[in-house]
């Protein structure tokens, strides 16, 4: 893995009001090609941190830079995915995947071919012309993933993308996600409140604690790759879960929930 830093935060802070501090003094460097999980309880500022990186909201203090440039707004090399698939209901799957191209004004044969291939890659062969309502929740997220790939972004910010799906679908999609982003050029930040999922996917887990939202620990995950579901039962994996839990409970003891 190259050590080139793509995302860097120094003292990054976001306060919504004087007392509501969503993110406080975040300091981190994310190397190119790595997969970072951002785990923490609801309301700990994970999503806010993700939106700061995406340039969707303005910081209150500190610095956030992507490829050595201060983030001032949405960037072409950053793609987003949400807990909801956010598909346009009046467009077929492939038309949804082509949305990024349409917005950039380059819907040519190349873009169309890429969208077609993207849908095959996420396992939606034969569903290219289905409308979102004709697809299951898991399939809708697959379309959203294909759309994300279509943007050509090499920094992927995923905000609990499979959080609304059932356990089985989620596990399968996680494995497929790893296969797709297993590329030294692609840097991924994955927000979740599921500790197992966070560890399973990541090279490094950032543990966030609430009020104020802080990154309490950064834990390296040195499990072998490619990851398999069976690893989740190994002693090493359980030790990592305990480590994350200890960080969270250390901060949560006595805190009002």
């Amino acid at each position: 893995m190259a050590d080139e830093v793509v995302i860097e935060a120094k003292g990054l802070t976001k306060a919504f009001t004087e007392t509501v501090i969503a993110v406080e003094d975040a300091i981190f460097q994310i190397p190119k090609g790595s997969f970072i999980s951002l785990v923490g309880p609801s309301g700990c500022g994970k999503s806010t941190l993700l939106r700061l990186i995406a340039g969707l909201i303005d910081k209150t203090d500190g610095n956030i830079s992507v490829r050595n440039a201060e983030v001032t707004g949405p960037r072409k090399d950053i793609g987003l995915m949400f807990q909801k698939a956010v598909l346009l209901e009046w467009r077929t799957a492939i038309e949804n995947v082509l949305l990024p191209n349409e917005i950039r004004g380059d819907v040519g044969p190349e873009a169309k071919q890429k969208a077609w291939d993207g849908l095959q890659l996420v396992g939606l062969k034969d569903f290219e012309f289905s409308f979102p309502r004709q697809l299951s929740g898991g399939m809708q997220q697959r379309v959203a993933l294909a759309r994300l790939l279509q943007t050509g972004a090499d920094i992927m910010l995923l905000d609990e993308p499979f959080g609304a799906l059932d356990e089985f679908t989620r596990e399968r999609l996680n494995v497929e996600l790893l296969r797709i982003v297993d590329d030294p050029e692609i840097t991924t930040i994955f927000v979740t409140h599921n500790i197992t999922e966070a560890i399973f996917l990541a090279d490094k887990v950032f543990v966030m604690t609430p009020r104020p939202g802080r990154i309490a620990a950064m834990i390296d995950i040195n499990l072998p790759k490619p990851r398999t579901i069976e690893m989740e039962t190994t002693p090493e994996f359980n030790a990592l879960i305990k480590e994350v839990r200890d960080v969270l409970s250390g901060h949560l003891d006595g805190a009002p929930l």
């Binding site: 950053i78 346009l88 309502r133």
Partner: protein
């Protein structure tokens, strides 16, 4: 596959065969109308208050097929209602779009639309007649006035309440204002806009007829009033039924548009459109 819209939330009625359903409808209809007719014939119902269905039916037959007198009135009222609808909807839609785009306009101008709406439209009929005269234009004006509000408020609501995640998606993709408006705001708002148009259609018909009641020389409204003033109740009722027919035909038109435009709300239509899009697809 059945339609989402017609599925019904509570399935109280068991699914029957078409013949069975039709005969049930017919049965209920015959009981109602037959009871009424019988009541009249046996003298329980005063014919001056409630004429028997056969008399009304005959009057309708006469209007449509013997004298043909109804057609012109029908056309006049329809024309007034539809013109009023078009004008009212145009005003409502443009006010809504302007309000959605400009917060300043929304804050300082839109409240007048609300005041306008809470003032009973019917009450301004005398003004409308004073301003626009006794001809068709006053009816069109009242129809427009009565029907502009539902499209306005529905369109404004639809354009403003856009899914937050979808907005973030569009921002992150670098969409400009125009793309955001045409590719997200308008299609997201379409269902509620069309619901507003349906309300406006009925409103426009009411507006046109009420204006005719005040003063008119032609139209179904004035026709009905003339019959009523002469205590010609069967004629009056016949005119009322003609009004229902008008409302029904306009409403059917709106339903048709609903089904055509909002295809993503109905499974059967989605399948159709899906096939069409597939056939149209080419990599070039």
């Amino acid at each position: 596959m059945s339609d989402v819209s017609s599925d019904g939330i509570l399935k109280g009625v068991k699914e029957l065969s078409l013949v069975h359903k039709l005969s049930m409808h017919l049965g209920v209809f015959v009981i109602l109308i037959g009871g009424w007719e019988l009541g009249s014939r046996l003298g329980y119902v005063n014919e001056l208050i409630m004429p028997p269905p056969t008399a009304i039916g005959y009057r309708l037959y006469e209007m449509f097929f013997i004298t043909g007198s109804i057609y012109w009135h029908y056309f006049v009222t329809m024309f007034e209602a539809v013109c009023g609808f078009i004008i009212g909807v145009s005003i409502g839609l443009s006010l809504a779009v302007t309000s959605a785009i400009s917060p300043v306009f929304r804050r300082y101008w839109a409240p007048y639309a609300v005041v306008f709406n809470v003032t009973p439209g019917i009450a301004v009929t005398p003004f409308i007649i004073a301003w626009f005269g006794f001809g068709w234009s006053s009816k069109i004006a009242l129809a427009a006035l009565v029907c502009f509000f539902p499209p306005f408020i529905n369109t404004l609501t639809g354009l403003l309440y856009i899914d937050k995640d979808a907005t973030e998606l569009f921002r992150s993709l670098g969409a400009n204002r125009k793309q955001y408006f045409w590719k997200l705001q308008i299609p997201s708002a379409l269902p509620i806009i069309i619901a507003g148009l349906k309300l406006a259609m009925t409103g426009a018909l009411i507006g046109a007829i009420v204006a005719e009641f005040f003063s008119a020389s032609e139209g179904v409204g004035i026709l009905m009033q003339r019959f009523a003033f002469r205590l010609n109740m069967d004629g009056s009722f016949a005119a009322l039924i003609v009004m229902s027919l008008m409302g029904l035909s306009l409403f059917t038109l709106m339903e048709y548009m609903d089904v055509k435009v909002l295809f993503w709300r109905r499974h059967s239509r989605m399948e159709e459109v899906s096939k069409k899009r597939k056939a149209k697809w080419s990599i070039n």
